[in-house]
């Protein structure tokens, strides 16, 4: 399969092929026109993973498993949300929280996780309206 290359801000040059792409049909809020992403996860970066935009290579987001922050994190999407991603069972989804780590703010977004169906590679930022989780849950002192 043909390999493509992008020049990213965080990782330098990254090679990918079509089958690696994750498709956000509606983009994500604030970046609605960006549809193609890569999920970058390397052992040396654990526990971080990264969502790297292919359509706009300067853009990437650090991600953490929300259960690292809240061990009993409840991912309870609506039926419409699971249907949109073709998920038979919410338990098969990959669920990640976007991390904000700057001088001003150290937090994770538990309210609107990124949800990927690993079987068809469809993804969306899913708003858990009834969850009571925060968009800016502070990262606390525990590693």
């Amino acid at each position: 399969m043909m390999s493509e290359r992008i020049a990213t801000a965080r990782f330098g040059e990254v090679n990918y092929s079509e089958k690696d792409l994750i498709h956000f049909a509606k983009g994500i809020p604030g970046f609605e026109k960006l549809n193609r992403f890569l999920l970058i996860g390397e052992e040396k970066h654990e526990p971080f993973k990264f969502l790297q935009s292919v359509d706009f290579p300067p853009l990437s987001f650090p991600l953490l498993d929300p259960r690292l922050i809240v061990p009993d994190y409840q991912f309870a999407p609506s039926e419409d949300q699971t249907q949109e991603l073709g998920l038979q069972d919410p338990g098969e989804a990959l669920v990640y929280s976007i991390v904000t780590l700057s001088e001003k703010q150290q937090s994770v977004n538990l309210f609107a996780p990124l949800v990927i169906n690993p079987l068809n590679r469809k993804a969306a930022q899913v708003i858990l309206l009834k969850s009571g989780y925060r968009v800016d849950e502070p990262l606390s002192g525990s590693d």
Binding site: G30, F31, K44, F48, S60, P62, V99, S102, Q125, V135
Partner: protein, 75 residues
């Protein structure tokens, strides 16, 4: 912006399959009903905007993974 004046019980139609109805008006509050296809997400604007703002804040830095890790451990 298109501006309409509507009374309680009156509607607007957007395209073929979205209908917005003013259900009730009470001083400075308006109760609105929306009929739309299920795949069209509808949110209070402040909810959506909070997510936009958080996504933009998270995207501001292209900090290398090693530095992110040291910041995480440093907390």
């Amino acid at each position: 912006m298109l501006v309409f004046t509507r009374r309680s019980g009156e509607s607007l139609v957007i395209g073929a399959d979205i209908r917005v109805t003013v259900l009730a008006v009470d001083r400075d509050q308006v109760r609105i009903g929306i009929q739309a296809p299920r795949q069209i997400p509808i949110h209070r604007s402040e909810v959506y905007e909070a997510i936009v703002a958080q996504n933009q804040a998270a995207s501001q830095s292209a900090m290398p993974p090693a530095e992110l890790l040291s910041r995480l451990k440093g907390r």
